[in-house]
């Protein structure tokens, strides 16, 4: 019912008169008659705020909010400290746009600079951009960074998450980059096969850590193989796992990317999430999107500013490193606030609890007759086989208000446990599984 137009009808008339228009019709004279709408658009009439609230609340109520979730597969439920939500709701930070005008945007710029620093620390890489859309698009952009005239082929691990693989595949198709898969063996990227596949037309290798099945890959070996062939290694990481696992930097990766959602963003049916991207110094100028740098103002005061813009679309147009224009600044801010609230000990603790709970959970499921499919070391996700139809077990869990793991190929289930899951919850799932499967 409202349109948020503050000018009254009388003021609108005054303004129309001031520009020599009798009415609104006159304003649109430059639009040819043939394309002008004769009738109103076919939308419902506007509603009051109270009515709109009722409609939306009713729609939201048609979703099932699971109190207990054991599903990850690319979107993870973690505890979000209250301070994180408070920071991410600060009005000026929510409503501002890309900080083109440094003098009135130091807040956003500094927050991005701090975020970039944290991403470098997490990944062990030299430089980070200001973020992009999500983990999958970050992976696709990373592949594009590696391609050159001589090397136009990307190898992607078959054990990477399907949404990441699909996004890389789509970007590669569009750009004309050849894409091949590195097969998996026992749930891990088959590095022996990779060794045979690599040649001097290979631009890069993409590997996920932990991979889709929750298993920890040998990224050091992957880096060594890629580099022997003159190719780059891109590692997609789970940022929470970085509290424990060897970082891509320590493994020798050239680019680290990942889905930043676990760093303080709710599940939100898939978005908004956060794509983080970091690289070695050598690849700095190939990074897509915004980057913030530290400099000084004319009085020598510390200042932050968008920099290395010669890479970007508004300067380079078709020769730009990417078409990425904006970043996910508010999500980057959320991640930085989350990492600040946790601190180094807290991040370690979250990662450690994820690891411990998943280990416990795998144990009780095993006892209930759901055997782990793979032997390798896992982080907070793992696949079990299911002695009955997976859907039958998942339905039983759903009836108990539990979102179970995700069904994967050959009647497997991909489970996830985080610090949110209590021992009682896990025991309950095991008990239900025991009943259903017996």
């Amino acid at each position: 019912m409202g349109s948020y137009v503050p000018s009254t009808k009388a003021q609108q008339q005054e303004m129309l008169a001031a520009i020599g228009c009798a009415g609104f019709e006159d304003l649109f004279k430059q639009i040819p008659e043939q394309v002008r709408l004769r009738d109103e658009v076919n939308l419902p009439s506007g509603k009051s705020e109270l009515e709109v609230r009722r409609v939306l609340e009713e729609i939201a109520a048609k979703n099932v909010v699971f109190k207990t979730i054991f599903r990850g597969a690319g979107a993870y439920r973690h505890y979000i400290p209250a301070i994180v939500k408070s920071v991410a709701a600060k009005e000026a930070l929510v409503t501002a746009y890309t900080p083109y005008q440094a003098e009135v945007s130091q807040g956003i710029l500094q927050s991005i600079f701090e975020y970039q620093t944290m991403i470098c620390e997490l990944t062990g890489m030299d430089v980070s951009n200001a973020s992009i859309y999500d983990g999958a698009s970050a992976a696709a952009e990373a592949v594009a960074m590696c391609r050159d005239r001589k090397r136009a082929k990307a190898y992607v691990s078959a054990a990477a998450p399907p949404q990441v693989v699909e996004t890389i595949r789509t970007y590669c198709w569009a750009a004309g980059t050849e894409i091949e898969f590195v097969p998996e063996q026992n749930g891990l990227t088959d590095l022996a096969a990779l060794k045979d596949l690599l040649d001097d037309s290979t631009a890069c290798v993409y590997i996920q850590q932990p991979n889709y099945y929750g298993l920890i890959e040998d990224c050091e070996m992957a880096a060594e193989l890629a580099h022997q062939a003159g190719a780059k290694l891109i590692v997609g990481v789970n940022p929470i796992a970085m509290g424990l696992l060897k970082s891509p930097g320590e493994c020798g990766a050239d680019i680290a990317v990942g889905e930043g959602q676990p760093l303080g963003m709710p599940l939100s049916f898939g978005g908004p999430y956060l794509g983080f991207m970091a690289a070695t110094q050598a690849m700095m100028r190939k990074l897509p999107g915004r980057i913030v740098g530290e400099t000084t103002d004319h009085n020598g005061n510390r200042a932050f500013v968008l920099t290395l813009q010669a890479r970007e679309q508004h300067i380079r147009r078709e020769k730009a490193s990417s078409n990425v224009c904006s970043n996910q600044a508010l999500c980057a801010l959320t991640a930085a606030a989350y990492l600040s609230a946790l601190g180094p000990d807290g991040l370690y603790e979250v990662a450690q609890q994820c690891l411990s709970k998943a280990a416990y959970f795998a144990g009780v499921l095993e006892t209930a007759g759901l055997h782990q499919r793979h032997q390798g070391q896992h982080f907070h996700e793992f696949v079990t086989d299911c002695p009955v139809e997976a859907d039958q077990l998942l339905k039983a869990l759903e009836d108990n208000g539990i979102l179970g793991g995700l069904p994967v190929g050959d009647n497997g289930i991909l489970w996830c446990a985080t610090e949110m899951n209590t021992k009682d919850e896990m025991d309950r799932v095991a008990a239900i599984a025991g009943e259903v499967c017996s």
Partner: protein
């Protein structure tokens, strides 16, 4: 101001997690990182104050007039935020079984129906996360369309020289070359030049309408038919949709696909750069190629299905879902009456302000304009040495956010001003007075403007130094 890292104090922390209620598992040493990430160690007070200070150093839409041309910095209604934070939306896992996510699917279905009606399109994907992402997606549809017809010779995307930089950059990402068409004297597409530019190698044309100088392409029907006759498709860059809602529709002008910027036209906040949402709408014949899973079925039992000849995925899951919730809330509030009122007043604001400013400044093109207009300060620069940058920075000292500067590239010393419909008459009057005051200063005391801004915490920054010696992170002092 100190960085978070410089406020860090050893062993300071927030209390967040309970003790672990199961046995501790250990990773083999070889898999563990050698050096923990150096994150700041802070109390909740430290964090809260830090970000309050950063907020004070940020100019948001609620701090005053924010006429950033092409970005539609309109007011962001609070109800939209509240609806997007309902647990019934925020706590839903993207891979929940569809029968437990019917509300999310209904949201997408409603948003698609309404946005298709507003744009004159038949179908829409919400997967793209931003305008540029939408452009990339739209060009993928065009590429796939030609490929499906076994026409592999169409490798050229035509863009006007006034286009957003993302247009040519997006074309390059789908492996196409760019043919730039110069604009005519009047700021619109030069039909003759367009005819010369299109041919058997034309994949499509990308166009913003109203264009980036704020004018409606009056020959739009001819433009789209020239491209269609050459066998190409026409892409609508929706950055400027705020000018025409309820007045005219891209679908009726001959466009085959469009992207929208929900963070511009549909009042969702810009978040300091994002998250936005860049849904792509298309005509029926492109619908089989849309990326990502689409909502199918009707009321009560919606499902998700991949279109049969989909280009694939451009992002995980279904796009920036919560942003779509905000946009839907906004559309429901506006309704068919409000949607037109928005565009009428956006165009009225721009014309009114342009009229007031014309007393001192020179519009790059004579009016009437649509929702934004471009001033050229070429003469002021030549005669008084005052650049668009000087005026922009001086506006800051008067509490006004600068307009978009030096864009479009075809206008020298450009200031691109988009007031939006959410600024009332008295604000526009006040802002016009400020512009005039600055103009007087430019005539009488130009030196003063070179110093601007002087009221901010920092002055003009050394951008050259920043790029020459990139310092892109803080180096944490290792304990």
């Amino acid at each position: 101001m100190k960085l978070l890292f410089e406020k860090s104090y050893v062993c300071r922390r927030c209390s967040v997690l309970p003790a672990c209620d199961v046995d501790t598992a250990a990773l083999p040493e070889a898999l563990c990182r050698q050096e923990p990430p150096h994150l700041p160690e802070l109390s909740e007070t430290d964090i809260s104050r830090h970000y309050t200070e950063l907020e004070k150093r940020t100019y948001g839409v609620n701090d005053g007039f924010y006429p950033l041309g092409s970005c539609t910095m309109k007011y962001n209604p609070k109800i939209n935020e509240e609806m997007a934070s309902l647990p019934g939306f925020t706590e839903i896992h993207p891979l929940q079984p569809p029968h437990t996510a019917q509300g999310c699917l209904e949201t997408l279905q409603l948003a698609r129906t309404y946005l298709c009606e507003i744009t004159g399109m038949d179908d829409m994907t919400f997967q793209p996360a931003a305008g540029a992402h939408g452009e990339l997606t739209g060009l993928m549809l065009i590429k796939r369309y030609h490929e499906a017809r076994n026409d592999f010779s169409r490798t050229k995307i035509v863009v006007p020289d006034s286009a957003h930089g993302t247009n040519p950059a997006s074309a390059a990402m789908v492996g196409m070359t760019v043919a730039n068409v110069p604009s005519g004297e009047d700021g619109c597409v030069d039909l003759e030049k367009l005819r010369q530019a299109v041919g058997e190698d034309t994949a499509g044309l990308m166009l913003t309408n109203p264009n980036t100088v704020g004018l409606f392409e009056k020959d739009i029907l001819e433009i789209t038919s020239i491209v269609h006759e050459a066998g190409g498709l026409v892409y609508y860059d929706g950055a400027n949709l705020n000018a025409i809602m309820g007045i005219t529709r891209p679908g009726d002008m001959g466009f085959d696909c469009v992207h929208l910027n929900l963070h511009k036209t549909f009042a969702t906040p810009h978040g300091g750069g994002g998250p936005g949402s860049g849904p792509v709408g298309c005509k029926d014949f492109l619908s089989p190629y849309l990326p990502g899973k689409q909502v199918c079925g009707t009321g009560g039992l919606y499902s998700l299905e991949m279109p049969r000849e989909s280009v694939g995925m451009v992002k995980a899951f279904y796009g920036n879902f919560l942003v779509n919730v905000k946009a839907l809330t906004y559309i429901l509030t506006l309704g068919k009456e409000g949607i037109r009122e928005v565009s009428e007043n956006a165009v009225l604001s721009a014309n009114y302000l342009m009229k007031l400013l014309s007393e001192c400044y020179k519009p790059a093109y004579p009016g009437p304009c649509m929702h934004e207009f471009v001033l050229t300060l070429k003469d002021l620069k030549k005669e008084r040495g005052i650049s668009a940058m000087d005026v922009a920075k001086s506006l800051i000292d008067h509490g006004v956010h600068p307009p978009t500067m030096y864009f479009p590239l075809i206008v020298p010393e450009a200031l691109m001003i988009e007031p939006t419909e959410t600024e009332g008459k008295e604000i526009l009057d006040q802002v016009a007075d400020t512009f005039k005051l600055i103009y007087q200063t430019a005539l009488k005391n130009p030196e003063l403007l070179h110093q601007a801004p002087t009221t901010t915490l920092i002055g003009r920054v050394d951008e050259v130094g920043a790029a020459r010696n990139p310092k892109l992170r803080y180096v944490v002092q290792k304990p």
